[in-house]
Amino acid sequence: MLQNPASNLHQLINVERSEMDILRQIALVLQRGDSSGINELLQQALDNKLGPREILDDGLIAGMNVVGDRYKKHEIFLPEVLLAAKAMHVGMDKLKPLFLKDEVPSRGRVVIGTVQGDIHDIGKNLVAIMLSGAGFEVIDLGKDVPPKKFIETAVEQNAKVIGMSALLTTTMPVMKKVIGELKEKGLSGRIKTVIGGAPVSEEFADHIGADGYGYDSVQAVDCIKRLISAS
């Protein structure tokens, strides 16, 4: 029996529509920070034969991009970004095993930390979470990180960027020290530096020779994206 071509077309359109719906739903659930809802939707997407890459790019990362934009426009606040970030991580934990080992999505490796003498890490944590949501591999050294540790880790892990944060004016010189030591070791071209934190400014970043400056977490992630694509 011949199949009705119009009916096939409708089926095709319906499949595409349901794929779009499920990816859109994933993005929306992520924006709401609903970690418990995300797993069920991911399973539905996988049952619908959607690939992990598609689900990641058009569902999770698409949702996280909206969260970043809304945060940039001051439409939502830090806790909402962090709720979304948790949903992102829950989703990534489900998808990661589905990627082949060498296909695990990574846009590059970033070493990040709050500089020595400083323990203020909310901003740094947010950048780390947003970076990982944007598909970067983040090596978070925590707070009170000595210059040597930043550099050694970046070299060992073949990281492309070192991100440094400070809240105290008295600890800002540590950033300069890291950049100076990178230069001394001839690594400054290979490993880029991005700085941020309440007292840090673009002028200060230029003054100490940092490759980039992030006024807030969204800007820091944009800056790192730019630096990595340029390299």
Binding site: F77, L78, L83, Q116, N125, T169, T170, P199
Partner: protein, 256 residues
Amino acid sequence: MRDVIEIRKQEIIPSQEDAFALQGISSGSKVSSNIILLFDQAVKIFAEHAQPVGIIAEISKNDFGIIYAGEGRNETDTPVAEIFQKADRLALFATTVGQGLHDKINELFVNKDFALGSMLDSVASAGVEKAADVLEAFFGSTVTRGIEDDKNIAVMRYSPGYCGWHVSGQRKLFEYLKPEEIGITLRASYLMEPLKSASGVFIAGGVDIHFFADTYSFCSQCETHSCRERMYRIEHSINASEPGEQPASIDKRRKE
């Protein structure tokens, strides 16, 4: 005077406004029910895990001069250097909300509960400030006790790492105060353990000595300008406090 002071938890639970400010949420902002829920959860954890305690030790101007000089790394011109010389009394202090709270924050981050971990971090930071407020009020009450014209006396606090006082100043402060007695230790990088701790000096003296223009070289790099708020508080509390009244939120554990 050297006192170890147990601080009642319920007296240092921060306001929503204080915790939200540390989350970058300005006063009066309309927030979602999710954020309110996070704050309530964080306060509950704070009340369960906080172990606030403080230590305070009076110090002479001469001795404080040596401590303030620290390792010689302060900015050349600072407000504290001028103000402490005009003070009536000075006291070093340290306070903490305990290691348990810090461990709980870490646990939440490890479990990827970023939003609750971050909110608890803010609640704990604001709680430490409130603990320092309690110590400050206690010191203030000892200064003004018996003084008839006590409304003209005010206390303001400063900490290493801020206002041009280099963080390396912690070493000499710790040598004098010995806050290890209440479980606060100093890392090689001059940071305190537990991390949710505060230390510094209380400067008590005539109201006028506390006012300065925040135009020092390092002020341009300071985004909080919390000194303005503190000066404002002093200005507006002159007529508010009762003479010589000891704050209700403290229990003196031991007087040495």
